[in-house]
Each structure stands twice: as structure tokens, then as C-alpha cells.
């Protein structure tokens, strides 16, 4: 095919287009973040990112991310497992529902929780009686983060588990292996890379979540402000250096995640080639 030919002006046009696009929309803004963050000198930058509220926001973000990853890993494995290894009625519906957080706007996700756990909800008096506060508190932020990152891990696992089929598990079961042994010895090695990859994606998304968290947080500085919310707060207060300095933390985390992702993809592919 003409298009596949490894020469000609088309190839160079396409490459230029992609490079220009990436530069304009990604590279330039990233460079701008760094420049602005450092515009008032390295000392201002360091004091910005070591600001007590910035550290607290970063810590809260990490906390929410860890919870989201933990919960969604367990849920994701369970969901992927039951959707691929068993046949039952309503499978399609469950499968569709898992994807809901991707299609629903995060703002709505936030509002859903406000309605479910807020003062007007029938759950509120019960939870209040136990002294549990969800809305405008850390649990709410964690809930919202879990919600928006809900499908990431199960979606990575489902194709792998489907491709694997149930033969190996059946073979192990026929030899008398228990469910846990089967999972540990047969299923887990198979989904390991997909699982790690899902965790990376989940982490990236959880760290950056803004919409749903924004609705539930109440923006209490040092208490319920995550890093993205904190950045927005600084930005609205015309503290550009502070905002961009805090942003740089997120950017660094994102780059770390990106590198991890590349490594995992590479390793996973290599292992897949061996065990094909």
C-alpha cells in the first residue's frame, strides 16, 4: 500500500503535525509550569512546596489515592473474576455498570454522594449517630476518588482473563487445588502485569481527580483540600507561583507514573511473548 511506504512527503507531514501538536498542547504548557514555578527563584519554589498546607494537601492526595487503589484492586479482581469465570444472569448489566464512572461527569459523581450521605439523606442520622462524617470530610474525598477510578483495574483484567479462558483453573481444580491456591498459582501470574498496569492507571487518575472531590470536599484548607483543589485555591487567589509550584509536584508524580507504565508495558509484553 502507498500509505505504508516508508518515505514520501506524507510521512513527514504526519510526523510534523504530531510533533507540533504535542509541543503546543503538552510540552509548552509543561515547560511553562516549570518556568512559572521557578520564576521567583528556587527559594520561593521550595517554600511554596513545603508550605504546611501544600504538604497536607499532598498527603491527603496520597491517602485518597492509596485507598482508591486498595479498594479498586480488590473490587477490580473480584469483578473481573466473576464476569469472566462464571456464567450468570445480569452479567451484561453488571459489566455496563462498572463502566458508568467513566461516562458520568465527575461533578455528578460528587453530587450523587452529597445526596446519598448529606443531611437530607435517610442515611445521615444513622451515620451521624455513629459519629461518621462523610460529606465535607476525608471519607467523602476517598469515596469520590474510589468512584471515579472504579473501572480502571477491572477493565484491564477482563480482556486478559477472557483470553485465558477457564481451562487452566478447571485443570487445577480437578487436581484438587482450592480456590485460593488456584488464584495464587494459576490466575495471578497471568494477570500480574495487567493488574500492575491497572493500578498505575488508577493511581494516575486518583491523583488528578478534581471534579467529584471538589463537590464533596468543602475546601477546608489543611483538612479536606487535595492537591488539585489546593492548586485551584492558590490560582484563584492569584498566587501563580504557589499554584504552579504545587502543580509541579503533580507533574513529577505523573511522570513517575508514566515511566512506571512504560516499564510495565515493556516487561508485560516480554513475558507475554514467552508464555504465548
Amino acid at each position: 500500500m502507498e500509505l505504508r511506504k516508508n518515505s514520501g512527503p506524507l510521512k513527514w507531514c504526519m510526523i510534523t503535525l504530531v510533533v507540533v501538536f504535542l509541543t503546543m498542547f503538552l510540552l509548552l504548557p509543561l515547560v511553562y509550569i516549570v518556568i512559572t514555578a521557578l520564576s521567583k527563584g528556587i527559594d520561593t519554589y521550595i517554600s511554596s512546596i513545603t508550605d504546611v498546607y501544600a504538604v497536607k494537601a499532598a498527603w491527603l492526595t496520597i491517602q485518597a489515592t492509596l485507598w482508591a487503589v486498595l479498594v479498586n484492586t480488590i473490587f477490580g479482581i473480584a469483578a473481573a473474576w466473576c464476569l469472566t469465570k462464571f456464567a450468570f444472569k445480569g452479567k451484561k448489566i453488571i459489566s455496563t455498570f462498572i463502566d458508568l464512572p467513566v461516562t458520568v461527569s465527575p461533578i455528578i459523581a460528587g453530587l450523587i454522594y452529597v445526596l446519598t450521605f448529606g443531611r437530607q439523606s435517610f442515611l445521615y442520622p444513622i451515620l451521624d449517630g455513629w459519629g461518621i462524617q462523610i460529606i465535607f470530610a476525608v471519607p467523602g474525598i476517598i469515596l469520590a476518588t474510589i468512584f471515579v477510578t472504579f473501572p480502571f483495574i477491572s477493565r484491564e483484567l477482563i480482556p486478559v482473563l477472557t483470553a485465558q479462558g477457564t481451562d487452566e483453573e478447571e485443570a487445577a481444580a480437578l487436581m484438587g487445588a482450592g480456590t485460593f491456591t488456584i488464584f495464587r498459582k494459576v490466575t495471578l501470574p497471568h494477570i500480574k502485569w495487567a493488574l500492575l498496569y491497572g493500578i498505575v492507571l488508577c493511581t494516575a487518575r486518583a491523583m488528578g481527580e478534581f471534579g467529584a472531590v471538589s463537590v464533596l470536599s468543602g475546601h477546608l484548607r489543611g483538612k479536606t483540600n487535595t492537591l488539585p483543589l489546593y492548586i485551584e485555591l492558590l490560582y484563584q487567589g492569584y498566587d501563580f507561583t504557589g499554584a504552579f509550584a504545587a502543580s509541579s509536584i503533580l507533574v513529577i508524580l505523573a511522570v513517575v507514573v508514566l515511566v512506571l507504565r512504560l516499564l510495565l508495558e515493556h516487561r508485560g509484553q516480554k513475558e507475554l511473548d514467552i508464555h504465548k
Binding site: E168, A172, L174, M175, G176, H190, H275, K276
Partner: protein, 357 residues
């Protein structure tokens, strides 16, 4: 098969998948130490039967007996079976050694005994030195052997094989068939394998259970199925069959029931060059050769007789026949199918001649 020798037995087994009736009142008896084939077209319910024996599926009604005990509620892992999956289902992330050792490790066998057993099995399957390989690093035939060894490792009483040769290319398949047959005979383990390939079943099995549309059509040795088929399905399914409607037009087959039809097999038909054979020349009919297909070891001759295109086999040592040539066609016998009844009918001239002699 007499009742007291049956080792695996299915009594009035029924199984549905939703609206689909996969097994209809299945009754099977499998004697100890036999190698039995479950033969049928896809969707005939043969794999369902195998999976029910293994405990991977559960019948809606009926009883499964192993060694005289009802095992319906016994989990598959406690039924003393080894299972070889169609795709082998070797554990991809384990070495050959770990694959074979898996069943023994689950049973908490001491590692020293495992080592002995694995090396014994590796020797048996002729795969010594491959212990550290992963399944992906083996050839199709080796994978099959490893799957076989893995199933045998915990010393099962019954070996179940689901389409054991389906995933292997033609040449290795023939080799493996013989190998598996020898292996199973040597170990003397009761074995049941599923196949849709009649040649495979005929060559490998001591007994064949023919399934169709969820039912068992016939059970018997390969030669019984071949010479004495019980149902029209078995006639059509086993061997090459040539359906003929107007078989009463053939000489010496004049009698014909109202609704009946006949099935011929290539081996029931002899084709001779004019004047080649004296014995049948008087009672043979003339047909015209339409096609000759070279089959390597022999020739398939297609000849038109009373509007039917018949196939017959001729040796490559026989005198040459050309397309368009008029030849003598002699039909030795055929199966007459009348509703669900099958009867063998011989060429009348054979009787007359024997009377004369």
C-alpha cells in the same frame, strides 16, 4: 458389556443448558481397563458427557457411578480422574516440571517423591531434559505428552481426554494416536476420549460410543459399528457413505420397500475394466467413469450408475482406467434404511453363484 464389569456407568442422565437439551437419557457402561471413544459430530453432547464424568458439569437428573459408587455429589477432584483438556490447559506460567508436579503438591506429597514421580513420567513420555521449559517452548506433540503426564501424575483410576488430537497437525497426530494407544494399554488405565474424527475413534478405541443430538446412538467395538450399524445415523457417520435412492434399479437388488433408501460404501463396490474380471463380469453392470482422484496410496474412481455417482477404490497396481471409459461395476452389498431400521443386503448373484458351486 456385562453389568458386573462396568467401571464407569451413567444411568438415565439428562442435562440442559437453558433451553438446550444437551444430554437425553444417557445410559453408558464402560468396563475397567478399556479405552473408549465418545464419537459424534459437534454439538452431539459428547463433551458434556465427559465433563459430567469429570464433575465439571452436573447432570439435571440421573446417576453417575464410578467403581459402583454414585459420585454425583463427589467433587471432581475426589473422583480419581485425570483430565486432558482439548487445548491441554497447561499452566503457562509454570515449567514442565511444576506442571506435572502440581497435582502431587496439592496433595502434599513429599518433594522427594514428587521428584521421582516426575522423572518417571518424563521418561515415560519421552521428554527427559525438558523439565525446565515453559509450555510455550514446547511443540504441539510435546505439550500433549506433558498434559498426559500431568493428568497421570496423581495416579488416577480413570483418564478423560477431550479431543486430545484436535490441536495437532496431521502428521504428528497419527504418530501421537499410536503413542497414546500404546501408553494407555501399557498403563492399563480406564480411558475415555472425545473425538469427532471417526478414523481416530476406529483406530484408537476398544469401544466406541456414538452420540448424536444429545443421545447415544450405538455402543460397540469399531468393527461392530462398521458391520452392524444400529441406526441410520451410525451408517452415515461411520465410514464413507454414498446415499442412493433408487437402489432397486441395481441388478440383483430388485426388492425394495416403499420408503426405503440405501447407503453404499466405496469398499462395497468393485470396478473392473471391461474383460478384466471373469468372476463378476456376468453380474456386473456398466457404468461410465466421471472422475479419477489420485489418493496417494490408491485411486478413487467416480462412476455414474443409474443416475448415482458412486465412489470406489482401485489399487494403483490395477490396470489403468481413463475418465469417460465404460467399466464393469459390481456392488457386493449395501445398507437398506427403512425409517429407523438398518439392514444389510447382499448382491443376489453372490448367493446364486455359491449355489451353483
Amino acid at each position: 458389556m456385562s453389568e458386573n464389569t462396568s467401571y464407569v456407568e451413567l444411568r438415565h442422565i439428562n442435562k440442559h443448558y437453558g433451553d438446550f437439551h444437551a444430554s437425553k437419557d444417557i445410559n453408558i457402561r464402560i468396563p475397567k481397563g478399556k479405552l473408549v471413544a465418545l464419537l459424534g459430530p459437534s454439538g452431539s453432547g459428547k463433551t458434556t458427557i465427559l465433563r459430567m464424568i469429570a464433575g465439571l458439569e452436573h447432570p439435571d437428573s440421573g446417576e453417575i457411578l464410578i467403581d459402583g459408587k454414585v459420585v454425583n455429589d463427589v467433587p471432581g477432584s475426589d473422583r480419581g480422574i485425570g483430565f486432558v483438556f482439548q487445548s491441554y490447559a497447561l499452566f503457562r506460567y509454570m515449567t514442565v516440571y511444576d506442571n506435572i508436579a502440581f497435582g502431587l503438591r496439592v496433595k502434599k506429597t513429599p518433594e522427594r517423591e514428587i521428584k521421582e514421580r516426575v522423572s518417571e513420567l518424563m521418561k515415560l513420555i519421552g521428554c527427559e531434559g525438558l523439565e525446565k521449559r515453559y509450555p510455550s517452548q514446547l511443540s504441539g506433540g510435546q505439550r500433549q505428552r506433558v498434559a498426559f503426564a500431568r493428568a497421570l501424575a496423581p495416579n488416577p483410576q480413570i483418564l478423560l481426554l477431550d479431543e486430545p488430537f484436535a490441536a495437532i497437525d496431521a502428521k504428528v497426530r497419527l504418530e501421537l494416536r499410536t503413542w497414546l494407544r500404546d501408553m494407555i494399554t501399557r498403563i492399563g488405565i480406564t480411558s475415555i476420549f472425545v473425538t469427532h474424527d471417526q478414523n481416530e475413534a476406529i483406530e484408537v478405541a476398544d469401544e466406541i460410543i456414538v452420540t448424536n443430538l444429545g443421545r447415544v446412538e450405538q455402543t460397540g467395538t469399531p468393527s461392530e459399528l462398521y458391520t452392524d450399524p444400529a441406526t441410520p445415523f451410525v451408517v452415515r457417520f461411520i465410514g464413507n457413505s454414498i446415499p442412493v435412492k433408487n437402489y432397486d434399479r441395481f441388478q440383483y437388488f430388485e426388492e425394495r420397500g416403499k420408503e426405503s433408501a440405501a447407503i453404499l460404501r466405496p469398499e462395497f463396490i468393485s470396478i473392473f475394466k471391461k474383460g478384466e474380471n471373469v468372476q463378476y463380469s456376468k453380474s456386473a453392470e456398466e457404468g461410465v467413469v466421471e472422475d479419477i482422484i489420485f489418493r496417494g496410496s490408491n485411486l478413487e474412481i467416480r462412476v455414474r450408475l443409474h443416475g448415482n455417482l458412486l465412489s470406489a477404490i482401485r489399487s494403483i497396481n490395477d490396470p489403468d482406467i481413463q475418465v469417460g471409459e465404460t467399466v464393469d461395476v459390481f456392488i457386493h452389498r449395501l445398507f437398506v434404511i427403512d425409517g429407523e431400521k438398518v439392514t444389510m443386503k447382499y448382491n443376489q448373484s453372490l448367493r446364486e453363484e455359491s449355489v451353483i458351486i
